[in-house]
Symmetry: C2
Subunit: 413 residues, 2 copies
């Protein structure tokens, strides 16, 4: 946790209501430091439906492997999350640590080990001493409470400068349901799965396969459209749980992703995921500016996204943003290097509402002052139109500052 | 040009001999600033053979387009290079500027416009006033001299902190030939064509198609294996000229790329290209460390190179290097995100001779002190063995420092 809160932090935090069927507790297990909250336990009173998406890294952490194995089982009773150690690239020791943690958690909750889900973030390559969990999980399960979302979000922070929380309501068949979500992440943030960690819970009654379908679709325009530094984590984990408590209000269980009753829920979920994803981008390590990059007129949506990410990940674009420099030539460079079809002489570029280039050259009405005025804002919309087709995409990123270098030049010490 | 020379600069510069058949001159044309050397002219007394490789950007500069058009003609009489303005993304004005420059140069030299080659670097998107060349090219052609390589290298610098020069000798059929090369570049440096600008000249007598074949092959393990910031320029240009003057010593013209007499020349050329490429990486903006990243045991050489570049372009790897932090977990991360086949549990990683990880976990004999000692050096060899196949590749990069952010956060002012 940084001493300085990101200038892009929300002015106020959403107040997350307790959500029927889920309780949480935090503890200090001494994973890396003494007397620092480093474990979060989320307990579902009854088996909850579960869905997850994970890092595409070829070197995933042991907890990611563990969750992938348990996911097909389809129910969750508890989630154990720790900071300070990613339990990644820890070989056989890593697998042993996840097994021991699951064993401790299942004993505490009174459930099967395949109803436990795990997530760890922190240093890669350090063996995780899972015996430390054994001493705290029983008490956590006993003390867990529903009105604990903000504390939970704080507990999973590492280099984050503020907790990420969001809540939405929706209705399914006339019954009101709630969705709460928390996320962490500030660096090593890139598609695909730019989340580091995020846990979303609803009291709706929705079967696991439907949840998975909703989550897999919802992640694409949210967490998978956000990048801080182009570095994909070995630990990225986004999970969605449904406690089903709304069935007590008469909500009929949803078992098909085609169910028209999902319209409101799907919209609310997607909105919440986007909210959390943008909160992560706004807490990008060292960030002082937020860039929303929209590419239109591409050959396809996929091409538009590739180009948008080429812009969003360009160190030269990001340092220009940090310097409040309306250096649109670097946008041209990033479009050109993306590898997707582009016609230089059809390209148009805007900073905010200021069109700086059109038809492959500087706009005749270009005003450096007007463009610079946009760059001086905290939130900078960048738009590129390729003039080729109807493909479009929007991605979010932050600027690249000296502070990013400082944070990451001495992270482990 | 920066006030501070890169700590990675060569201690001494190669002394480049005059090379028969080529003369150079520099001038101050006031392209961007007054009284600053900003134009280099290279004149070939007789038509020289010519080869070139250029940026793969979809938004190339007007001079790149111009060179591509002239290259099939196969002979060169002059090269005009300017700094201060890239003549990129300048639309019709850009094409008009290259045509006017070529006209002025061909008039000065007395040759066809399709024997002229052009290169420009500097700000993107500003129209280039080519009438400024008209006033200086006649005098430059008259004053051009052979013993001018170091001055030429200095003239094309922009954010470079030192000139890049290299020279080699070889023999073709028992006749000694010489190869001289200069390069510029410090930022916006990435494969493919990580060179920004480089001009290489030999007095050997080699036909253009053979030169092209030699250059296209030679660029792959040199300039195309080097990255500073993953940002590919719109202007990257590497050209190779052969004046043929060695024919006066009895060297028989080489007309086939299969000619066994090319062995010595090919080796010398490849060595020179690698030398220049590494000099560019060592002058990466803000660089304090040089990383040589070797990947072995990959499924193929191409896979090895993709993984090596994923490591070399990772902001987290590069900031760790800046912080002298032996953070090998970030190497694991970069291997994992590369998208190529990797088996976490077969991976081994070295910093210098210190093996830090093996079989998917920290080396049992790991010594933080030993690894840190490697990181404290200026030159840091990183080796990754994937344990899958026999594919291998080596790439070069520099660290990412606050100075990079400072240089690029306010480049245009």
């Amino acid at each position: 946790m940084s001493a300085t809160v990101s200038p892009l932090a929300p002015k106020t935090f959403a107040s997350l209501p307790a959500l029927r069927g889920v309780r949480m507790a935090t503890a200090s297990a001494g994973i890396k430091y003494k007397n620092r909250t480093d474990v979060l336990m989320m307990v579902f009173d009854a088996p909850a439906s579960v869905a997850g998406v994970f890092t595409k890294s070829k070197c995933p952490s042991a907890p990611v492997d563990f969750c992938r194995t348990n996911l097909p089982h389809g129910t969750a009773r508890a989630v154990v999350v720790n900071s300070g150690n990613a339990n990644a690239f820890t070989g056989m020791k890593g697998r042993a640590a996840t097994e021991l943690t699951a064993k401790s958690a299942s004993a505490a909750v009174g459930c099967s080990e395949n109803e436990i889900f795990l997530a760890s973030t922190g240093v890669i390559g350090e063996p995780l001493d899972a015996t430390k969990f054994a001493g705290v999980l029983d008490a956590m399960q006993a003390d867990a409470t529903g009105d604990f979302w903000f504390e939970a979000a704080k507990a999973i922070m590492t280099t984050d400068t503020y907790p990420k929380v969001a809540t939405r309501t929706a209705e399914i068949g006339g019954v009101k349901v709630t969705i709460n979500g928390i996320a962490k992440g500030a660096g090593m943030i890139a598609p695909d799965m730019a989340t580091m960690l995020s846990f979303v819970v609803t009291d709706a009654d929705i079967a696991s396969p439907v949840l998975q379908s909703l989550l897999s679709a919802g992640v694409e325009p949210s967490f998978n459209s956000m990048t801080v530094d182009s570095d994909t984590s070995t630990s990225d984990t986004l999970m969605l749980f449904a406690t089903g408590a709304a069935s007590g209000d008469g909500q009929a269980r949803i078992t098909s992703e085609q169910d028209p009753q999902l319209v409101s829920f799907r919209a609310a979920l997607n909105d919440l995921l986007k909210d959390l994803a943008i909160q992560v981008a706004r807490d990008g390590e060292g960030a002082t500016k937020m860039l929303e990059i929209t590419v239109t007129g591409a050959e396809s949506d996929a091409a538009a996204k590739t180009i948008a990410l080429s812009i969003a990940n360009s160190p030269l674009v990001k340092t220009a943003a940090a310097g409040e420099d309306a250096n649109w030539g670097r946008i041209v460079m990033a479009v050109g290097k993306a590898g997707e079809m582009a016609d230089r002489d059809k390209l148009a570029i805007w900073f905010g509402d200021v069109r700086v280039a059109v038809n492959g050259e500087r706009d005749a009405g270009y005003s450096e002052d007007a463009a610079t005025a946009v760059m001086k804002k905290q939130d900078i919309p960048v738009k590129v139109d390729l003039g080729l087709g109807s493909g479009k995409a929007t991605v979010w990123t932050c600027d690249l500052t000296k502070e990013y270098v400082a944070i990451n030049g001495d992270y482990r010490s």
